[in-house]
Subunit: 372 residues, 4 copies
């Protein structure tokens, strides 16, 4: 596979830019990454699309994903959640590897179909949970896998934002159940659930019981540029209690209405021998309590032998949020080239979706939900 991989991308806004930037940076920093062509970018608004193609460096534009998914070597599905299902399945059925943004689908049913399509296909089907690719998170996993924390007993995750704190913040598709599936739960909680599985799944097992709670504080929001409002049909915040197979406890929560927190994804893992804590707003750091330490050590995870760091800068020169996409693209494209397994894949993402669904069912039923 010595020709560059032609990449087709659905979506040209926030995530489109994040992945285009990642593709752009691979040659300079990951010299063994597959070569890529930003071939076609797909969207509905032709004018915006042309401008995006120019800025993001794509050769072609298309308004119908059907015409693209079997013409490219790799398909990136970065559209809103309700566009995740059909194009991803079509691509997989055409034998095109897929990288789909998270959460996998707005509904469990959609996720199940995608997972089925991925199982039937012979190519990587990746779900873009980018926080698995933070060096500090990888380093945390190293410590956990090496037994430095002992037996896992608690996983505590929160993801707090404030952008909907103001009841007059405008309506967007992210407030709509049809388009988004859920609110803070699917948008933020999905990340927490994925990280929890990534970090402790091999030790604590899967989540087997869940109790969930959803809340919508603002029932309708103004439509920008109009006098109208539209109903908010998703949650502003969720919380969940979890029991893992080994008896470990999980406590998760997320909110888009928490004043003072911009992008505060904090996850802590506690075991019989130690603890780690990570916080996204300080993503170069990991707080580590292991061995004979008496308290948490603040580790700047920027040493040459830390995960991915040798590709970048000398110790102490911090990286940013976007670098996680570079690492993710590097791993995914390498898997495409080499025919190796990639995680998180659709099976992982489907497990996450089952957890999200269980949270919603528990909230509706007022009872714990068993996952088997």
């Amino acid at each position: 596979m010595s020709d560059p991989l032609d990449i087709g991308v659905l979506g040209y806004r926030f995530m489109g830019k994040a992945h285009a930037n990642a593709l752009d940076r691979l040659p300079m920093f990951f010299d063994d990454a597959p070569e890529t062509n930003r071939h076609t970018i797909i969207g509905r608004d032709e004018e915006a699309l042309a401008e995006a193609a120019d800025t993001l460096g794509f050769q072609h534009t298309a308004t119908d994903w059907r015409e693209v998914v079997d013409e490219v070597d790799v398909f990136y599905n970065l559209g809103p959640n309700h566009l995740h299902v059909d194009p991803s399945i079509a691509a997989l059925e055409a034998g095109t590897p897929v990288l789909c943004e998270k959460p996998l689908a707005p509904t469990l049913e959609g996720a199940r179909e995608m997972h089925g399509a991925a199982q039937a296909a012979d190519v990587p089907a990746a779900c873009a949970f980018n926080y698995r690719f933070v060096p500090a998170i990888r380093y945390a996993k190293r410590l956990i896998d090496a037994g430095e924390l002992g037996a896992i007993r608690q996983v505590r995750g929160r993801y707090l934002q404030d952008w909907l704190s103001d009841p007059d913040a405008p309506w967007s598709w992210r407030n709509d159940e049809e388009a988004a599936g859920s609110g803070a739960l699917g948008d933020l909680g999905a990340h927490t659930v994925d990280l929890a599985r990534f970090l402790v799944g091999d030790h604590a097992g899967e989540m087997k019981r869940i109790s969930g709670h959803l809340q919508t504080f603002t029932e309708e929001r103004p439509v920008e540029g109009s006098d109208e409002t539209r109903p908010v049909t998703v949650d502003d915040a969720y919380s969940a209690q979890v029991e893992f197979e080994n008896g470990a406890m999980g406590t998760f929560e997320a909110s888009r209405v928490t004043e003072g927190h911009k992008n505060d994804h904090t996850i802590a893992v506690h075991g019989t021998e130690g603890s780690v804590e990570f916080s996204l707003e300080r993503l170069n750091e990991l707080r580590v309590m292991t061995g004979d330490n008496r308290g948490y050590e603040t580790v700047l995870v920027t040493d040459a032998d830390d995960p991915y760091v040798d590709h970048w800068w000398p110790p102490g020169h911090v990286i940013g949020w976007e670098h996680t996409f570079v690492h993710e693209n590097y791993e995914f494209l390498s898997s495409v080239r080499d025919g190796t397994a990639f995680h998180p894949n659709f099976a992982d993402a489907y497990e996450v979706q089952r957890v999200l669904d269980a949270v919603e069912r528990s909230d509706a039923n007022g009872a714990w939900v068993e996952l088997d």
Copy 2:
């Protein structure tokens, strides 16, 4: 009531020392506090008791609380949880004001009886949730009551300790359901629930729905000085999800097995306009996000006009954990003298107990529990 108040105290260990110290310090720092006599200290082990009386400054000792509760002006019940019910009720029935350590009782039934006795009595019946008397907590309440946080939406509380992290840590009465009622839930969670009610009760209302989760990681523990083990019949950790009357969400958790945390009682309150966060290991500080601030401000709550601070030292001279007992004793004894209402009283503590009980029932039933 110009004579000193004769104080009778049941319990001479950790809590006995904390309250004796508080009584000892009042004259120098709270010149309008009622005068007190450390009259009688009560316990079973006569030798230890005599030594405690000497160290803690009590005039008399007694091995039977029945002989004391109506002989003193005030009765402090600082014994283990299973000794809270009968002596407190006897004192109240004798018209003696009571200060009882938390949680109110090992069982909801016991707490209900105590609450009933307090209602029937004409004297203050206090429950010693001392963290209400931290200056930073009082200052947080000031901000909340002044509307600086807007409408309350979230209360997040955790209380993490590590002293049972080691499976070989010795058994004590705190591991026994008979003596303690519950584990982390009653010992630590009770504090969180009380603080939550104190801070947001007037704004978010009571907790109306609860989902709980308990876990015991170590099933038996060695008995110190013997080859035997005894069963652990209480929880090592709990978590809970809560809905308040106004729809606000609560997420609470506590653990005695979390490595890296000694006495980490952290509580955060978030509203439409702002947030506050308090952490016990840094009890002189409050993190405050209000007004036009862009992030949390770290406020050292040691200014002269901060709650209780004018009694102590100039700004920047921090106080410690024990000072909360001085404030608590000051307020309680003033209520006794003045015949005014004291909070937290047995009614407050009974509400806390109802929440703890709901957590246990929810855990047992696998369902949310309604409180009405």
Copy 3:
């Protein structure tokens, strides 16, 4: 010496209260401390004095220290700096042990005389640098003495306050050279210099070269309750560079005009193998970088085997600023009883004063000053 020690105290304000409280608490928490009598409190304002005696628990009052210094077993000199010299020397000449507040004297000459009197006397002459008695500082010294930091290379100390930040903050004796000697330098810098000597003196040697800088930002201040102003004849802030005998570098600074800092005494020591950092506003903590650690560990110095902690509360129950005075009084009074050496003594305090004086001379001369 089985009779209680009669204590005579000059000064009844801030420091008078801090030491009276310390004496008051010894019996309950330090059972092997010498018994004491708060015998006589000395001051000029008879009314205020009578009230202080009542609050602070002294049996007698006196307006002339001359009548007291040889009548008591121990003399505490807690008056303003210009009253340190004569009463302390008189006490020592009468064979009465002295505890004098810091800095030792307003002038180097005064300090030298006091040091001489102490050398000639056969009793302890202590200078009350209370921060030597913070558990976290003692723990830092343990680590340094055990070689955990390797060879000492840097000592960095700052002491930042804000109470004179406002140019309209009122004049007090602390702004007057006659009464105080110097400003931030003597009041705050003296603490830093003493801690530096305490922590690294045995390893880096004494300070041998110094360069200093003083600045007064507000030249006169209003007199409270009048229309007048008085000149400020001391520094608002100082800085200093230091070379120790072993070549280690010191950088010190203090200010009373730094917005955002109430009582921020921070000292860091760096060696070839590790670092420690202490900050007074979080005095229960020590930041420790040693061994194979990759970053600073935040140690809560409240374990039972930490210095002094076994006298107080269980792990995680923090102490306050005033506890340092209890420890200091315990050590000093034990030395008085046992006839053992006490540090910091007048010799230590005289060394500190020589450093302060060198800072002033260097500022005046625009040149480094050698200390030999």
Copy 4:
């Protein structure tokens, strides 16, 4: 100037990569940036150079800068310090705009010549003090310029690293006076001095008096891949005291031997009304104490209206160290295109160099040095 600017770059290691990356990223994120051609990369080792050209995206290589400086539109001088003088002057004399890495030159004399050449030239001559382009630093300057801190009284800067802490860390040109000029002083201190001038220069004026201190702890170091050692002829650490024209005090220090600090460039500015503090290891944050705040607020400087941030990601999505180079290149290249003034220029860098030189002279003389 609608053709792309041809860029010639001397140096292909750390700084070469940092600037090549910056040039590479401009088109996607700064759509009004001038178009550039990575034309020629210059170095001595032809093989390494060819590989660098390939990785970093340069069209040509050259081993003699003389052949390049007048053939390109812009010349980047990113070589070791001793190569800063001649090539930069040659480029300026050829009318080619120059961006030169910091510090400007190994000696004051070299810096003066460069400054003279820049004055004589009609094109921008920039010195790459990249930390001026951190959003949080720009935001700090906004606050200072808006008067939020009041009159400036203190600037406190430190730059601590640990990579030479081990006496066996290998020798490099950075340990050599000929090649580097100085050690921590020029490499790290230059950044601090530049930031101090940038932040407070318009308010406190220039630095007018300086006292300096240099120290070399390890006198010789092993040469990698040989049995030899070479002498260390520069400082491992420096400190300085400064007086600004308005009387404000500066305290600066840097070290390459401070355990626990990887790249800790911390600068604080204090005024009569407020304070700010920045720390490079958390470069997305600014600690701000202004207005009615009671303590420092931790501001995440990632909002859309924060400096440069609108070019990148939504609020809360942090950037890294390398982004400062993108901003710097954007500003510099825009100045080249538009013929506008750029800062920091050679005049700024020469002022920095005068300060560094004064530190060295003061250390040598044992006296304060006046700058006029």
